[in-house]
C-alpha cells in the first residue's frame, strides 16, 4: 500500500525515477512523462474503493483519452495525478510517476514546483478558475512571473504571446478584459494559455470542451492537437463523449463505476470493442449520431 500520506517526503529536490517497470507494460519508444500504475482511489471515511485500478503510460506528443459517465472515476483519476484529490480521498494502491518522479513522495512545495511547470490541467467551467475582478491577462502574467521568475514587463509580454498562441484574435485587447466580457470558448482559451504558461510537459483536459458549442469545441480540440504537435505536449483528454476522445487520442480507456472496462488503441476500441458498455457508446453514434450517415469508406 502506497499512500500519499504514508510515505514521508524527503528533501526538496525531485527524486529520480524509480526503476520499477511492471512486466505487463510494453517498452515505450520515448521515456514516459506520466506513468499511472494500477492506481486505486479510496474514500477514507467510508473505507470504500472508488477507483479500482487504472494504468496507462503517456509519452511526449501522445494522447490518452478517458471516457466515462459522471461517477465513473475519470475525474478522480485526473485529480490523483494532479495531487488534488478531494479531502478524505486517497490513492490507496498503485503508483503515479510524473516525469520519473513518484508523486507519493512529494511535499507540498515539490507539488507546487511540479504543477504548472510539468503537469497542468484545464477543466469544464473555465470561468470558475479565473478571478472575475482581475483582468484575464494579468492572471496569466502572474503565473508566468511566479513560475518563471521573470519581471512584470516581461511576464506581460509573454502573456500576450500566449494569448496569441491560443489563437485569440486580438490578444492585446483580450489581455485587458474581464471574464464577463469573454465567451465560454474564449475563457477556455485563456485557461489553456495559463495552463501552458510555464511550459508543462503534460496537459490534462477534463471535460474541457463539454460546456462549449460544437464548433467551439472543435476549435479547442484543434488547438490542443496543435499544441501537442508543436510543443510536444502529452495530453490526457477526459470526456463523456467517445467521439471527442476519438478525435485526438492514441489510446482510450473506457471507465465505468470506477473500473476500466476497456483499454486499447483508439482504432482497436472503436473497431473491436469488447465490453458491452463500449458497444453502447459506439452504437449511440452509429444508430443515432452523424456516423449513421457516414459510409464505411470514410473510416480513418
Amino acid at each position: 500500500m502506497t499512500t500519499l500520506s504514508e510515505k514521508a517526503a524527503p528533501g526538496t529536490a525531485l527524486k529520480p525515477a524509480l526503476k520499477t517497470a511492471t512486466p505487463r507494460e510494453p517498452v515505450a519508444p520515448a521515456a514516459p512523462v506520466l506513468t499511472v500504475r494500477d492506481v486505486r482511489i479510496s474514500d477514507r471515511v467510508t473505507d470504500r474503493e472508488i477507483v479500482h485500478g487504472v494504468s496507462f503510460e503517456l509519452t511526449p506528443g501522445k494522447t490518452v483519452g478517458i471516457v466515462g459517465e459522471s461517477g465513473s472515476g475519470k475525474t478522480l483519476t485526473c485529480r490523483a495525478t494532479l495531487g488534488i484529490l478531494p479531502p478524505h480521498f486517497e490513492v490507496s494502491a498503485g503508483s503515479i510517476e510524473i516525469a520519473g518522479t513518484d508523486i507519493a513522495d512529494l511535499t507540498p512545495q515539490q507539488w507546487t514546483a511540479l504543477r504548472g511547470a510539468t503537469i497542468s490541467a484545464v477543466f469544464q467551467d473555465p470561468a470558475s478558475y479565473l478571478n472575475p475582478s482581475i483582468r484575464v491577462g494579468a492572471q496569466i502574467a502572474e503565473v508566468i512571473r511566479v513560475k518563471k521568475g521573470v519581471k512584470r514587463r516581461e511576464a506581460r509580454h509573454r502573456a500576450v504571446e500566449l494569448l496569441q498562441a491560443v489563437q485569440l484574435r486580438d490578444p492585446e485587447l483580450v489581455y485587458g478584459q474581464y471574464t464577463h466580457e469573454l465567451s465560454g470558448g474564449m475563457l477556455q482559451r485563456v485557461l489553456i494559455a495559463a495552463a501552458i504558461a510555464a511550459d508543462p510537459r503534460i496537459l490534462i483536459a477534463d471535460e474541457a470542451t463539454t460546456a462549449l458549442d460544437v464548433t467551439v469545441q472543435a476549435e479547442i480540440l484543434d488547438l490542443l492537437a496543435e499544441l501537442r504537435e508543436h510543443a510536444g505536449l502529452a495530453l490526457v483528454i477526459v470526456s463523456h463523449d467517445l467521439a471527442v476522445v476519438a478525435q485526438l487520442c492514441d489510446e482510450v480507456l473506457v471507465m465505468r463505476d470506477g473500473e476500466v472496462v476497456e483499454q486499447g488503441t483508439t482504432r482497436e476500441v472503436l473497431h473491436h470493442p469488447r465490453h458491452e458498455y463500449t458497444r453502447l457508446l459506439i452504437a449511440e453514434h452509429e444508430s443515432y449520431g452523424l456516423d449513421r450517415f457516414l459510409t464505411p469508406q470514410e473510416t480513418s
Binding site: 459517465e69 460544437v214 492537437a225 463523456h240 453502447l280 453514434h285 452523424l290 450517415f293 457516414l294
Partner: protein
C-alpha cells in the same frame, strides 16, 4: 436571409393546408425599443403531420426563442404562425392558454425538474392535462398507463414524485406528459442534452417510435449528432436566421452553407480524425470574413 444557401426557400414552400406548423417570415426582437436586439429574422418553416424536423443552432442562434415563440411564450414582432390550421399570430395570452390547454401543441424542455410540478406524483402530472380537458377519471387513468408504457416506464413509478426519479426517468415522464393529450405537434427543446448515453439512446428511440405513430416533432438541439438520428429534415439556425433546410441526410452529407459545413465538420464522430483541421480552419476564415 442568405437564400442562395437555402435548399428550400421560404417562397418555394407551398402553403400546405395540412401542415401542423407553418411559420412564415418570423421576426422576434428582445429588449426595449432603443436597445432592441434581433433574435430571429425572417424564419420560415413548415412541419407536415407526422414529420420530425430538427432545428440545429448553437448558443445565441435563436433556437430557444423559436420554441418559445411557437408556444406563445414570446410575441413575434413580425410573421405568421399557423398551428393545426389556426392562425395564432394575433392570439393574446388567454387564447394561447386555451390553445395549450386543448393540448394541440405540447413541449418538452431540457430540464424535466423545471417542467414537472415537484409536488405532483407521476400519475397526477400525467392525468392533469386530461382531466382539464374533461376526460373521465377512469379513461384518464387508462390513457396515463398506456403512455407510461410507451415511454418504457413501469407502473410502479405512478405514485412517485419527480424528485424520486432518475434524470432519465424524469425526462421520459415529461415526454409522456407531452403525449397524453395526443397532440399534433410536440416541441422538444434540448430534450436529451442533460442525459447520459444510455438514457439519451432510450429517449431518441422513443422519439423515433413517436414519429412512426404520426406525431409531428420539432426537435431543437445544439447537437447535430442527436438530431441526425431522428429527424426527417434538418433546419440550421445561425445568428437568428435559417441558413439551410433540407433532408437530414443531405444536410449532413452535403452541407451547402459555410456555417453548416463548419458545423458538420466540427461535430465529433467516431470516424473523422483531426485530418479535417485544415478544412475547418478554411471554413472558419470564410465564415468570419
Amino acid at each position: 436571409m442568405t437564400t442562395e444557401h437555402a435548399r428550400q426557400q421560404p417562397a418555394a414552400t407551398p402553403t400546405d393546408e395540412s401542415a401542423v406548423l407553418e411559420v412564415t417570415g418570423l421576426d422576434v426582437h428582445y429588449g426595449p425599443r432603443r436597445r432592441r436586439r434581433r433574435a430571429l429574422h425572417d424564419v420560415s418553416l413548415s412541419v407536415a403531420p407526422g414529420e420530425t424536423v430538427g432545428i440545429i443552432g448553437e448558443t445565441g442562434s435563436g433556437k430557444s426563442t423559436f420554441a418559445r415563440t411557437v408556444l406563445g411564450l414570446v410575441r413575434p414582432s413580425a410573421g405568421r404562425i399557423v398551428i393545426g390550421g389556426e392562425d395564432v399570430g394575433a392570439y393574446g395570452t388567454r387564447q394561447w392558454r386555451r390553445l395549450r390547454r386543448r393540448g394541440v401543441v405540447q413541449y418538452v424542455f431540457q430540464d424535466p425538474l423545471r417542467s414537472l410540478d415537484p409536488d405532483l406524483t407521476v400519475e397526477e402530472s400525467l392525468s392533469e392535462p386530461l382531466l382539464i380537458q374533461g376526460v373521465p377519471r377512469q379513461e384518464a387513468a387508462d390513457r396515463v398507463r398506456t403512455f407510461l408504457a410507451r415511454v418504457q416506464l413501469s407502473e410502479d413509478l405512478l405514485d412517485r414524485l419527480p424528485g424520486e426519479l432518475s434524470g432519465g426517468q424524469r425526462q421520459r415522464v415529461s415526454v409522456a406528459r407531452a403525449l397524453v393529450t395526443e397532440p399534433k405537434l410536440v416541441i422538444l427543446d434540448e430534450p436529451v442534452s442533460a442525459l447520459d448515453s444510455a438514457n439519451r439512446v432510450q429517449i431518441l428511440q422513443i422519439l423515433k417510435d413517436l414519429r412512426a405513430a404520426g406525431t409531428a416533432l420539432v426537435f431543437i438541439s445544439h447537437d447535430l449528432g442527436s438530431v441526425a438520428g431522428v429527424a426527417d429534415r434538418i433546419a440550421v439556425l445561425y445568428q437568428g436566421e435559417l441558413v439551410e433546410v433540407g433532408a437530414a441526410r443531405d444536410v449532413i452529407t452535403d452541407p451547402r452553407h459555410v456555417y453548416t459545413r463548419l458545423l458538420v465538420g466540427s461535430a465529433p464522430t467516431l470516424r473523422t480524425a483531426s485530418a479535417d483541421r485544415a478544412e475547418r480552419d478554411r471554413l472558419r476564415a470564410l465564415l468570419h470574413a
